[in-house]
Every structure is written in C-alpha cells, then in structure tokens.
Symmetry: C2
Subunit: 198 residues, 2 copies
DNA sequence: CATGCTAAATTGACATCGTCAATATTGTAG
DNA sequence: CTACAATATTGACGATGTCAATTTAGCATG
C-alpha cells in the first residue's frame, strides 16, 4: 500500500512531517503544501484529512501537548513520593520542554494559528494541565502581604513556570536570554510553599 | 502634499494602519498589502520604508512596547510613593494592557514574526522592562524552601506577571479563561514580598 | 468473480501574498 | 532651469491556501 495512490496513514504522516519542518525550518515554512511534499503526496491531498491549515496546526499542537504531558508525567513518576520533589520535577520538565523545543512550544500556545474548536487540541492541553494539578494538589498558599488570596495555587505555579519558560524562549525585553548562561530550571523560580501534612 | 504622489509620512501611516488592522481583523490580515491599501498607497509603496514584512511587524511591535511602557509609567506615577503600591500598579498595568489588547501584546512577543535585529524594537522593549526594574528595586526575596536563590526578584516578578497575562490571553489549557469571571489583576498573583527598609 | 460505491489522491485553477525590477513622479539642491 | 534623489506606481514572479473536477484504489455486495 505504501507508495501507491492511497497512502494508508497520511494524517499521521502529515503531522510527523509538520513536526520535522517546524523544527528544521521554522514556523514560516510550516505550510500545507510543504507538509504534503514532505509526505510525498500532492499539494491538495491534505484536504481529505484537514479542512484547512489551522486544523493541521492544531493537530501538530495537540501532538506537542501530548509530548509535553508525557515529559512531565515521566519526570514526576521518576521523582519518588515526596510532594516537593514531584512538583519540582514537573516544573523542570515544563521548562525543559519549552527550552529544548521552543518552536513547538510556541505553536502550542499560538492560539491565533489554531482552529478555535479543535476537540483533540482541547483534550491534549487539558491532559497536560492535569499533571500540574496533580503535583500541586494539597499545596498551601499563604501570603502575608495582606492582599486577597484570589487564585488557586495551581494557577499561581502555572503562571510562574509558564511565564519563566516563555520569557526564556523569547529572550527579548530585559536582560538577554533571561540573564542566565545555563539552561533555566524550576529551582530558579521555585517559591516558598508548603504541602498539607501527610 | 496629502493625496499627492508623495505621502509625506507614510511610515507612520503604515504603522497606524497596521495597528488598526491587527486590532480589527487579526494577525492573519496584517499584510503589507493590506496596510498599503489602508494607507491609500500602492502595494509596493511600503518597500521604501520597510525592507520586508518582518520590519513592518517589528515597527508595530515597537509601538506596542512604547504604549505598554507608557501605560505602566502612568500607573506607577499615579500610585504615590509607597513601593508596594507602585509595584502593584505596574503589575496591574502590565496585565491590563495584555488583556485589553491581546493581539498587540501577542505580536510584541511573537519573536518569529519580528526582524531579529530591529534596534527600535530592542530599545522599546528594554524601556518597558526598565519600568519593572524600577518598581522592583530593593525588593527582598527570601525563600525558605532550601532551594538556591538563583534569580533576581525582577525576573521572578516578571515571570509571574507575564505568565499570568499570557495564560489569561490564551485561555486554553486548564480552566477556561484562567478560571476567572472578571478581568485578572496583579492582586490575583501578588506574592509575599518585602522591600528594604526606607 | 464481477460490479459498483466510497474514500482518498491527483490535476488544474484562482485570488492573495511578499518581493523584485522597471518606470514614473515629485521635491529640492545647485 | 535643470539634474538628482527620494518616493510612489505598475507589472511580474513564485509560493500559498483553497476549491472544483477528475482519477484511482480498496472494499463490500451481488
């Protein structure tokens, strides 16, 4: 079946091609036609699997979120039972993923380039967030500055980690490349937190 | 001079047109030709002022950073002398800017769409960061979790605020729209900090 | 085995975009 | 007044997303 008129698994082949093109040539080169060519099919073949370019990008972003989740999942599972260690492992994996694959990470959060209603992307991103929820469960969040404690600690941690990762990638604005001469880690920003007893 | 063969101030007119198109029709519509048409000139006229599309986007992003800075500057100047109030004002302005103009804010940090060496953009972004540096000066940053304190409090605050703003805009991944039913503010994430005496 | 249906891929076309080269126009310095 | 430099126009090219029409292959049904 391979090489014939019918590809067999063109949808996944296009996603794989897109991941390669994105990594190699950047987001501007990530076109429907380039993916088609890379997969060895004609320029209009993707139409049968993706309604438009946004759908293809959404599918690639969804694959990015799955890998993002897998990276955090593996790191957490490898971190032992201590909650602080698990949180740190997840944060490290989050940042490491972003820094090692900045183009994919950027696409994952480039909402303008997505299909606004892609259920696969929604599910994949929620699965990724679920790991953060898991490792921040039972986190106590006390502030002594007298301000109202409006936000869940999950969102606090996520904001901190995500912002740091995004800034490390962008490296514009402020001291170049976040002012670090080595890869950034969760320890760089880890705030003071305590878990509930147990 | 207006309406004639020579425009007079086409460069700024194109930036203004671009800001309008970005706000109204989104980043996909922000094309060189659309800006030219909106400014009432032919499709190739921008070539005399911007070498390519990336230069135009960089100029628009630079204008975004100037407005971003002005918003924080005004908020800080309006916040009185208390350091905590000034920090809060800057953080609020940062987040408010991002939420009220998400497309412009996104473009400002969309490094892939910029000219990598635009000095105007670099200067504008640094000026914006300078406000954050100012309001975080003398901030004490103590952590009791035994982790190394690697990062300057400026970068910690910036990561937190930027991440929260970016997440509030993206609103994908995790609880919809950051789980808030009202506009996010700096108070939502303000950590416990103290300033040096004085 | 033959037949027809359907999914999937191809070709060809079109509008739009960024970019370039050639040309035309204007303002201004000499 | 004249030449020149800056700026704008026109026309063209390749690349892209998308659509319509067509062709092919796999599969079920008789």
């Amino acid at each position: 079946m391979s090489g014939g008129y019918h590809h067999g698994d063109l949808r996944n082949a296009l996603i794989a091609a897109g991941l390669g093109i994105l990594e190699r040539d950047g987001p501007e080169a990530l076109s429907l036609r380039a993916c088609a060519a890379s997969a060895g099919v004609s320029h209009a073949a993707p139409k049968n699997h993706f309604a438009d370019v946004r759908r293809l990008r959404s599918a690639i972003a969804a694959e990015g979120f799955r890998r993002h989740r897998d990276a955090m999942r593996a790191a957490v599972d490898n971190a032992g039972p201590a909650r602080a260690a698990r949180l740190r492992a997840a944060g490290d994996a989050y940042i490491e993923f972003a820094v090692s694959q900045p183009k994919l990470f950027t696409l994952m959060f480039a909402i303008d380039k997505h299909a606004p209603d892609d259920p696969e992307l929604l599910a994949a991103s929620r699965a990724s967030y679920a790991v953060l929820e898991e490792v921040t469960e039972g986190l106590r969040y006390e502030r002594s500055n007298g301000l109202p404690n409006n936000l869940a600690p999950q969102l606090y941690i996520w904001s901190l980690v995500h912002g740091f990762a995004h800034i490390a990638i962008t490296a514009r604005f402020g001291p170049g490349a976040s002012g670090l001469s080595r890869p950034p880690t969760y320890d760089d920003i880890a705030p003071t937190f305590e878990f509930d007893s147990g």
